[in-house]
Each structure stands twice: as C-alpha cells, then as structure tokens.
Amino acid sequence: MKGSFHLSNALQLEADAVIIGSGGGGASVADVLTAAGLSVIMLEEGKHIPSSSASPSAREAFSAAWRSGGLTAAIGRPPITYAEGRCVGGGTEINSAITQRTDSDLIDQWRKLNKIENFTPDELAPYYERAETAVNASLTPGPLGRATDILRQGGEALGWKVSELKRGQRGCKGANRCSYVCPNGAKQSMAVTLLPKAVDCGMRLLAQTRVDKIRIEKRRVTEVLAQSRDAGGQAVPVRVKAGMVFVCAGAIHTPALLRYSGPRKRIGDTLRLHPTIKATALFNEPVDAHQSRLPLAAITEFMPEQRIGGSIFTPAVFGLSLAEDWTNRGDLMRDWRFCGSYYGMIRPRGVGSVRPLPGFNEPLVSFKLAPEDWIALSQVLTRLSRAMFAAGARKVFPSISGHEGWTSPDQVYEFWNKPLPKGATNLMTVHLFSSCPPGEHQDSCAVDSYGRVRSVENLFVADGSLIPEAPGVNPQMTIMALAFRVAEAALCHSAQERARSAARDIN
C-alpha cells in the first residue's frame, strides 16, 4: 500500500495524532482526523495483505491475518475459543462484513445504565450512516445459494422471523473466503476503503509495528513506544510523539495495553462476547456451501438475545470444525458437499476480564458464563436444530464432543430443560467487546462518554472495547460508529477543556 514504508534504524516520529490499530475502529478515527487535516500516524501490529496475494489455503491465511495464527481460548469452563484479526484492516479483513445496527432499546438502556452523554439512538444514527456508507452496506446481488435458503426455509417453516443481512460488499463473487481476506477485494474491508483514503490524505501507516507501552506523565500521554521490523526482519524501536493517542487494538489488546501503561480502574474488567454454539447439518441433497455466498440470512425472531445464522464454509474450515471431535465427526468430511455449518449465538449475562502478563505478548483473558447463559445456549441450540430439520436436514450434529448427533426433530429437545454438558460443549466467538465501557458513571466506566481515558487528557479508546455491553448483532457498524464519534469529539473539545476534565476525574 502506498504510504507504508520499511524502516532501517531507530525511529523518532511526530504527528498530531497516533492511532494504535488499523481495524474498524482505528480506520474510522483515521478517516475523521485526516479529513480535518491532522497529521496522523497509524501503528499496526500485523502485516498488510493485499487481496491479490490472499492465500486460499486456510493455514497460510490464518497465520497471515489472524492473531496467534487462528484461535485463542479464553479461560473458563468451558474455555471459549475466539478469533481476532491481526493485519492491516484488523477484524474487518477476516469477518463476514455483516452490517447490523444495535437495537435502539439496548442503546437506551446503556445510556441510562452508564450515564453516557449524547448517546440516544437518534444521536448515533448519523454515525451509523457514515459507517454504512463507508463500506457500501448493501444486499448482496444475485442468487445467494442453498446455504442461505436452508436458514430461510427452516425459519419460515417454524413461523419465525428471518431477515436478509446487508453487508459491506461491492460485487461479491461468492468465494466464501471472507475470513481469509477477500481475494476479489469485493468485501469492503478497511484495507480497501477507509485506510487507502486516509493514506491518500497523508496518513503514515506502519505495519508490523507493535506498541509496547504508552508513556503517561502528569495526566498526559507523552509518547508511544513500539517495535517495528526493518526489511531484513530486524527489530527497530519506534517512538512517536503525538498530541492525541487513540487506542484501537480491539477489546482484548486495548485494555491490556492500557493497564500495562498505567490506567487500570474499570479497564478490562467487563469483557463481553457472544458465546456461540455451532452445529453441522447433513442434508440429502448437495448444499455446496463452498460455491455459494456465506449464509446471508439469519433467524432474527429471538433477537437481540439470540440469533441463528450460518458460518463461512470451505472444505478446510469445515475440516477444522470437525477436528474438535474427529473420532465422532471425521466421517462427515466425506460428505462435506452435503453439509452446512450453522450457529446460534447469545447475548451473555456473564462477564470476563483481560489482564496483561508481563513478558508475554498475549494477555490473560478469562470469561465466566452465567447460569442464564447456559439456559440460553441450550435454547438456541434446540432452536437452531429445529430449523435445520425443518429445512430438510437428515442429521444434525451439535458441537458437543462425543455427541452422536440427532436424526429426527423430536430428539433436538435433549437439552431444552437441561444444561449442556460443561466439559464437552465447544463454544467459540468472533465478537469481543465492552472491556472499556464509556460513560459519566465513574464507578462503572473506564472512559468518559466520548472515549477519553479517565485522568488522562489526550488518550482515547475507539474500538469494540467501547460497546457498553454485548450488542447481539455483528459489531462492526457499532465499532465504526462509536469510533467516528470519539474522533469527532476529540476534535471538538479543546485541549484545555480536556485537561480540565482529566484533572476533575476521580482517581
């Protein structure tokens, strides 16, 4: 990408603002700041992967674009595996780019709970619009394929509401490789939308540059310390001085970096995610999910608490999902063309935490499901399986190790009144948020209503960490909307105003 460059020796840089992370949050902040004419430096830990070089091999794609080369697990019983992007464009390079807004009712609740200023659904609407325009949120043209029809047919047969999902795409060709970096550049991720725009406006983007620490002195960030690599792969220290610092490293790494750099109060104490349980459905007819678009409908009858949808499907990803229990599921690999991969996700009541571990690159992440979550997971799995049978499935295999699968619709009630087996249930998530909730309520909020870290005048959070609680929908639009809002507010409030607020914050 134009504007990114390689480094040879220790670097001292200066800018009006530095943005840490290039995902939906960071790119949105960059869009606002560069438009206002600020000089901006963006630091991204991962590499830049142009769509022309996106690998069709799962192993290569994961190691290039995914943090830790694939899945990481949050400690808990059971552990919940999670995935994060680590490349230029962050999570937007590996997600399915579904563009949903958070339910207005939830936004109202969050505003009242945390006393967030100017946070009504109406006040957020323009930011959502800006996010939707940025990624061309639209219905995917053309036939969506059998994988989508299965959800629609199953949901409708049961009398449930099914909605078609808009997403950030322009000329989707149905490679069904959204989570490997789109090979056609059709997915409107940050690397093809806001980032090149910002770079054109003069932003300097340093890829493969990991921030170690934010130095804070007297309620002010003085500089950001990072490690980059030169062309030969040698480590190069980078120091950036900037008037404002935006941390957009995602719900795990933002709180970890902040805590490591000083601020701790309420930071990383309230991680939320969408616990998701998958099921594989086997049909009589070929589904050929790998040749169609990923399922672009969802059963929305039980939103925002529960949603049923479909997963990205390639033979390799499918094989990986079976690997959880290869002894019992391995046989399905032979029938992969007849299989669909679907999920049920819930808005949890449980809460997790993020703590940096000195000497390690990855922080300690734990998440504890609440009793209500187990009830909801049982419900959503039952509902998902009912929908699969209603769509003509021959067999449904819940993602529970050692489970033999269900062969008829009456069997799916196995867990309706009984919790899922804690040791054998495989839970995962690709949605992480809420680890730095915003608001004026100092007892419960890590940052103020506009993302400024308490007691620091020029340090802001602008990513999924800001979503006050689990939104029950794909978070990208909300992340971008909140990041636009943070960046605008940072420009509007004068440095003096911010210094005064920082001095007033209770330590």
Binding site: D105, Q109, K112, L113, D269, T270, R349, G350, V351, K368, A370, P371, E372, I375, A376, H441, D443, S444
Partner: protein
C-alpha cells in the same frame, strides 16, 4: 409531558392484601383515586376489598371507600371471609414479612400464607392472582456487571429468600398443572418512596451524618424500585392478557451503584432541603460484610433475626435485575428515577414529622 398510563382491570372486584403497608397503600391509592404524581390510573368500575392486620391504620383505606376485612393470611378462616363471593376477581397479594421477630415467621407468612390465599381463591373462582416476590430467592449477582433475568436460577438469600423461593415454587407448580386461576409473579428489589417505614428514615439519617457504612469499594450495584413505579408494574401485571403464568422483575429503569445511592441522597438532602450533610467517612473493608453474613447465618440458623446485622451483611453485594421482559411484555415504563424518587421520599418523611 408523558401521557397518563391508564390500566383497565376487567374484574368486578379487586382483592388486596398488605393494603395498609408501604407499597400496598400505594396500590390501594392507585386502584381508587389514582396516582396523579406518576400519571397512573386504574379503571374498570371495580370494587376494592382489602385484608389488613388487626391494629393497622385503616383511615386512608376508609377514605378511599375500600371494603375492609381484618385478619391474617395465616388464618384460613379470615382468608375465606376475605375471598368470599370473589368470582372473577383479581387478587393482588402484597402482604409479607421481611424483618420478622423470629425466623419461623418467614415461612408461616410468606410461604404458607400465600398458599392459603391461593387455595381459597381457586375455590371461589378468582380469575387472576398477582403475587409479590423479591430478589431474595435469587440471591446476589455473581459479578457487579451481571443483571438477573427471569431465567436466573434460585439461590435464596437466608430465611427470607428461602420463604419467598418456596412460595414461588409452590406457585410455579400450580402454573405448571394449569391452575384455572391465573398466576403472575412479580419480583421487586429494595424499594423506596413516600410513607416509608422508620427503618428507611434511619438510612437518610446515617447519610446526613456521614455515617453510612460503605462496605468495600461501593461499586456494587443495586436495583431499587420507587414504589409508584412498582405500583404501575403491578397493575400492568394484573391487567395484561399475556402476563398469566409469567414472572416479571420490576424496578427502576437501571440499577445504581452503592456510591451513587449514597451520593444522590446526600445531594437531595443538601441541595433540595438545605441540610448540612457531612462527608461520608465510614468506609468498611469487605470483610465486615463477610463477618456480618456469618453472624447473620448463625443467628438465623438459631431462629433469631437481627435486622441491622442482616442489612449490613448485604451491603457489599450486587443485587441487580434486568426489567426488559416487563418492558417488552407489559409495556412497563418506570417514570421516576433515583434523584426525583429520593426527593419525594425525603419530602414525605419531613411531612410525616420524621426527623432526619
């Protein structure tokens, strides 16, 4: 300005227990003259009959032309007299004991008393029973950012919680077997509002004197219910067709942190009533609550109930609920929040000549 919330009860008669109590009195007022302060009005041309304990002050109820039956839910004789001829009626059961003289009273009144009422009500063909429960059967939240839903499992907090849990379980068993009398369970947490009992006035006094014990960080959350908000929820539960067989949490819009509650009351006393409020100095470590809990458990095990120790044991715990279900299904919309609710409470204390 919001519109008046008009709740139409389709019944010839409304039966009300606990009518001389704190919240019960507000329900009686809502049923008769309405609560103009919160724009709540019950309509339907029904009569109201109240069950009150001997010796309770019934002058208010008389002014509201409420029929009065004197007696106790523990006594089947008076219960039968109370529900006599109540075919098609709606029964709102608010009576209960929270700070008893002895632990044994919890189950006698809260559990058995409710069963007595329901049995008698079913016999005469009462159409619907709304029963007041509490947060106590569900216990304390596992995390300060957790909120209970109607699906949260039972985890009763001591004697009171156990008695209300047994009550709820008996009611749910009736719902499960298809009781012809519809049953609705409503749960409310710590409530506040005008005409509060003197134990709540003590709470204001402690804050004024800077002596309110904040145990731990004070960041633990509490759901609270302003009495007139709860009255609205209870009437909606009585009226709404789909409420039958359901459980609802009722409270203010959001939970508050303990620090916020203490701070808000301090502000009300100072800014709205011009009192001198001493800065709060009593910060106790969490261990105090742990010790109080141990003492409370021991005492309650021995059948002794000590109010202050019991309340202290709960101080550092989060007890927060989510009212989404009531909002979505019943259209419940709490009108008053902490600051205004506390102002009205303090005002009422002063009018009732309770010194703060």
């Amino acid at each position: 300005m919001q519109e008046t919330i008009q709740v139409t009860l389709n019944a010839p008669l409304v039966l009300l227990t606990g009518a001389a109590g704190w919240l019960g009195g507000r329900i009686a007022a809502a049923l008769t003259r309405g609560l103009p302060e919160v724009r709540l009005l019950a309509t339907g041309g029904f009569r109201v009959r109240a069950l009150v304990l001997p010796g309770e002050d019934v002058s208010q109820l008389r002014e509201q032309s409420v029929e009065i039956v004197t007696g106790d839910v523990r006594d089947m004789e008076t219960v039968r007299a109370f529900v006599a001829g109540a075919e098609g009626a709606v029964l709102i059961h608010m009576a209960g004991v929270i700070h008893p003289k002895a632990v044994a009273q919890f189950e006698a009144i809260n559990t058995q008393g409710t069963i007595n009422l329901l049995t008698a009500a079913q016999k005469v063909g009462v159409r619907r029973v709304i029963v007041m429960s509490s947060n106590s059967p569900i216990g304390c939240n596992p995390h300060p950012d957790h909120k209970f839903t109607e699906e949260s499992p039972y985890n009763p907090y001591m004697g009171y919680g156990r008695s209300k849990m047994l009550m709820e379980k008996a009611l749910r068993a009736e719902i499960a077997v298809g009781s012809p009398t519809e049953i609705v369970i409503v749960r409310a947490p710590w409530f506040y509002g005008p005409n509060q009992p003197s134990r709540q006035t003590l709470f204001f006094k402690m804050i004024k004197n800077g002596k309110f014990p904040i145990v731990g960080s004070g960041r633990n959350r509490r759901s609270m219910g302003y009495t007139d908000n709860l009255a609205q929820g209870i009437l909606l539960a009585a009226a709404h067709k789909n409420a039958a067989g359901e459980i609802f949490w009722l409270a203010d819009e959001t939970p508050y942190t303990m620090n916020e509650i203490v701070e808000t009351v301090g502000k009300v006393l100072h800014e709205d009533f011009g009192m001198t409020v001493k800065p709060n100095t009593v910060h106790l470590p969490s261990i105090v609550a742990v010790v109080a809990t141990m003492v409370d458990v021991t005492l309650q095990y021995a059948g002794i109930y000590h109010q202050k120790i019991h309340v202290l044991s709960e101080m550092n715990k989060t007890i927060a609920c989510d009212i989404t279900k009531a909002r979505k299904m019943l259209g419940y919309a709490p009108v008053i929040a902490l600051r205004e609710g506390m102002r009205l409470s303090v005002d009422s204390c002063l009018k009732n000549r309770q010194a703060i």
